[in-house]
């Protein structure tokens, strides 16, 4: 797995685009936009996000880490994943 910050965000953008968006709206979503506030991800979407992050980056996400500050934006995910690598 890579420690490159661009890789983490790039992989996440591709994942969100392919699984939650049905148009090329991904460019409209900034690194700090909340997925939940933007209506991109709902409760089962969070589960999909968790599965993807754990499998792709080889980390384990504990229950008390399933919080918006870790998972609710590209920037938050990058920071969280880096802290676990």
């Amino acid at each position: 797995m890579s420690n490159n910050g661009n890789d983490i965000k790039g992989k996440m953008r591709e994942f969100v685009k392919n699984n939650f968006l049905y148009s090329s709206e991904i460019e409209d979503i900034s690194d700090i936009d909340s997925f939940i506030d933007r209506g991109i991800i709902d409760s089962t979407g969070v589960l999909e996000l968790i599965d993807f992050i754990e499998e792709t980056f080889g980390i384990s996400i504990e229950n008390d880490e399933v919080v918006p500050e870790n998972l609710d934006s590209f920037q938050n995910i990058e920071r969280f994943v880096r802290s676990k690598l």
Partner: protein
């Protein structure tokens, strides 16, 4: 818009009359001979059946009690007590065999056994829960499975998307099977099926499409749970039904609505829902409910997310049909 701790209080008799009028109009306009209602032993169906009897008379209300092997036995007892008190005709039909024939328990249990091979469906109990009270701790929604043997917890794990989807698809068959019974009887009797979904359930999508959401009318979908309690006391619903913990009664290990879906008590759900619907200012919500800004923000975020993601449940199926 006024917002205070008593904002949900209504004039009970006026509201009862309004709902009765609604029920009568729907039955008359659709030229039906009465109503069929599922009696769960819970407060919502108790209130609705009492309102239906007030609206149409006991002869025009038929109750169906539809337990299965994992239902709380108290549910059936309370449903029958209430039906007898109302003087309505009712039937008790166990739906376990139909669920077994469809493979509902088997499909669910195979998912659980993949997670915990030692799972024994006849000896162990299961429940699904969300993370704890959202007011106490922030956290995104995810479902966890708990297995116990009646004495201790044997297994607890967060579920993956395919697992929770599979479990819910199987357990939602319970509500959908009940819908079949309700409509079979409604059709043979030329009656309407009366729903029992309340306002927080409706707006947050806490019902099963074509299950308990598959009905002909919803006389209490506008009522907050607090108001369901108020009208229930006004109409003399038995205290044991009123005092019972609200629950989906879907799993054999008892779990309340708070643990399973709302992540906070109903009185808080109602106040937040009211505030959210009426655009109440953040500062006012904090003051009236004695909560911090971060607590209020996370609840409103959760409400909005649930409303948005369940929008399709409240709509007719989309089509290209243009209506006149």
């Amino acid at each position: 818009m006024e917002f205070n701790k008593n904002v949900l209080y209504m004039n009970s008799e006026n509201e009862v009359e309004r709902i009765i009028g609604f029920i009568r109009n729907n039955v008359v306009e659709r030229k039906k001979e009465g109503l069929v209602i599922g009696l769960s032993g819970g407060i919502d169906s108790a209130l609705v059946s009492a309102l239906c009897v007030r609206a149409l008379g006991k002869e025009k209300v038929f109750g169906l009690v539809l337990p299965e092997k994992e239902s709380n036995p108290v549910s059936r007892d309370y449903a029958e007590i209430h039906a007898k008190a109302l003087g309505i005709r009712y039937e008790v039909n166990e739906i376990t065999r139909e669920l077994e024939a469809f493979g509902a328990y088997e499909k669910r249990d195979s998912i659980i056994m993949d997670l915990y091979p030692e799972y024994l469906p006849d000896k162990h109990r299961i429940k699904i829960t969300l993370p704890g009270n959202i007011l106490e701790k922030d956290g995104l929604n995810f479902f966890s499975l708990t297995i116990d043997d009646g004495k201790k917890v044997l297994f607890f794990e967060r579920l993956k998307k395919h697992q929770i989807n599979g479990i819910f698809a199987a357990t939602d068959l319970k509500q959908r099977t009940r819908m079949m019974h309700l409509y079979y009887n409604a059709e043979r009797m030329n009656r309407l099926v009366c729903g029992t979904t309340n306002r927080p359930e409706t707006l947050q999508g806490y019902f099963v499409k074509c299950g308990d959401g598959g009905v002909d009318m919803e006389p209490i979908a506008h009522l907050y749970k607090t108001q369901v309690y108020q009208l229930s006391r006004h109409l003399g619903i038995p205290p044991e039904i009123i005092d019972r913990q609200p629950s989906p009664d879907t799993f054999n290990s008892q779990v309340g609505d708070e643990e399973f879906f709302f992540r906070m008590p109903y009185d808080k759900v109602d106040m937040f829902l009211y505030a959210w619907e009426h655009g109440i200012d953040m500062e006012e919500i904090c003051n009236v409910m004695d909560l911090s800004k971060s607590q209020v923000e996370r609840v409103l975020r959760d409400l909005t997310s649930k409303f948005r993601s369940t929008k399709h449940l409240r709509e007719l199926p989309p089509s290209l049909l243009a209506c006149r």
